[in-house]
Amino acid sequence: MTINRRDFLKVSGAGAASTLIAGCATQSAPTVAKASPKVVVVGAGFGGATCAKYLRTWGPNIEVTLIDPNDNFISCPISNWVIGGMKTMADITRSYDKLPSQYGVKMVKDYVVAIDTKARIVKTKGGGSFSYDRLVLSPGVDIRTDLVGGFKEAEAAGKVVHAWKAGAQTALLRKQLVNMPDGGVFVMSVPTVPYRCPPGPYERASLVADYFTKAKPKSKIILLDGNPDIVSKKPLFMGVWNTLYKGMIDYRPNNAPYRVNGDTMTVTTEFDEVKGDVLNVVPPQRAGAVCEMAGVRTAANDNWCPVNLTTFESTTTPNVHIIGDSVSAALPKSGHMANNMAKVCASAIVELLAGRNPDTVPVITNTCYSAVSDTKAGYVANVWRWEGAKGYVSQPDGGATAVPDELNKAYNESWASNIWSDVLG
């Protein structure tokens, strides 16, 4: 449904802003307040866990059920540091314990297998059935391994991983790099946009280069980018590739892999056939599979989920909210963004369930640090303010560092620790 907001732009000032956003903020109106409304959140990553925690903090009468199949929270941010050997899996793993004990979130360890958006019921593999007044989907990305020929077989054989979701594949990729002989070739690919964590592939290449420089200096990195140029923080990454890692990284734009062979250890692109000792192919991505179950992932939006960006409610299905990577928007897909979207979404849901109107001028920020070595990092930071018909407008002083330094490396590490505590309590 498209709502014409033009009429509401004629007025200005604080009171008028309320009217303006009311016209586009909600698909479903605030409901008559229930004593104990139910919200089900699917996915306990940066978006979902944050949303559950803030729903309980701001709406203590709300019964919040958080469904996720994982035992622990494993952070994608900083997982490149594990691959580069600067951190361990234990360093990026955190417990969910405080969400139930301190915030009263009901944790369900299970897979979602069906969503009935008419009856408002979520069903899980273990036979659970959860009714909701509002549903929040925060599944992250679905990695399209089907779009790279041979990937599924090579992945199942443990020969080629994407490691684009932190976990067992992160540890396996690190092990492959450790086992690689000096003088070996590491082949990595960058998916076509949009994908999770725009600077992530370039950070990974840099940190593997840092590891090679110290441990295997004769080794090479071939970076096959599906995009025409470096997607994020180009001056920062090019700067270190041309200095710290001079001659080590062979960057090849417009080179999306369409086939990988785990037996011959070969990656095929439109222009190249590249052999390597370790292959790290990162396929293209779309909104998580549960979004398909709820009917909110749309082909018209390139398999992402269109939402009303002031409440994150689906524009196709009432009472279903989507946050994080799965959202269709000209906003970066980062853990920090998912955390910020979760807060705007939680705030809106608390108000809507109480029969009130949500915040009319939400603000979303992104802070994204990237390490380029074991001592230096840089960042990109932006603030987006909702400006009615213009949508989220990036404020003028946003931007990225061009030169990495030690201070930002310290901030990068502190940022990780702090956002984990904000997400998990």
């Binding site: 449904m1 709502i3 014409n4 509401f8 604080a14 009171g15 309320s18 009217t19 009311a22 016209g23 903020a25 909600t26 109106a29 605030p30 803030y54 701001w58 920090h336 955390n339 910020n340 807060k343 705007v344 705030s347 108000e351 009130r356 109107n357 949500p358 915040d359 009319t360 001028v361 939400p362 603000v363 979303i364 920020t365 802070t367 960042y379 930071a381 932006n382 603030v383 987006w384 303010r385 404020q395 003028p396 002083d397 946003g398 931007g399 560092t401 201070l407 930002n408 310290a410 901030y411 590490e413 502190s414 940022w415 620790s417 702090n418 956002i419 505590s421 904000d422 309590g425």
Partner: protein, 99 residues
């Protein structure tokens, strides 16, 4: 038509409750700061805590980041995204948090 009715209903509500909307906005924008500055503004590591900061100090610091009077690594980029009124409202809130 359905949209028009919805808008009319919500607008009426908003006019009746402007103060509430301000509080919700402050609560939400203040929480965006916790992503870097830690749960309820209590930080681990190099990034400073903001819980329990003196309100006047907070407001002045944010204004100086925004104007460039105080040099910063990342904070000019963030401070420039907020208004003076928001600095005051967030300053009130952060001052109330336990260090």
């Amino acid at each position: 038509m359905k949209t028009t009715l919805l808008v009319a209903g919500l607008s009426a509500f908003m006019l009746a409750a402007p103060v509430h909307a301000t509080d919700v906005h402050t609560r939400t924008i203040a929480s965006t700061c916790f992503a870097c500055h830690g749960n309820n503004g209590v930080s681990n590591g190099a990034i400073p805590s903001i819980a329990g900061l003196d309100k006047a100090y907070f407001v002045k610091t944010m204004q100086d980041f925004k104007s460039g009077a105080r040099p910063a690594s990342i904070m000019k980029r963030h401070a420039s995204g907020y208004t003076d009124a928001e600095f005051v409202a967030m300053g009130d809130y952060f001052a109330s948090l336990k260090k």
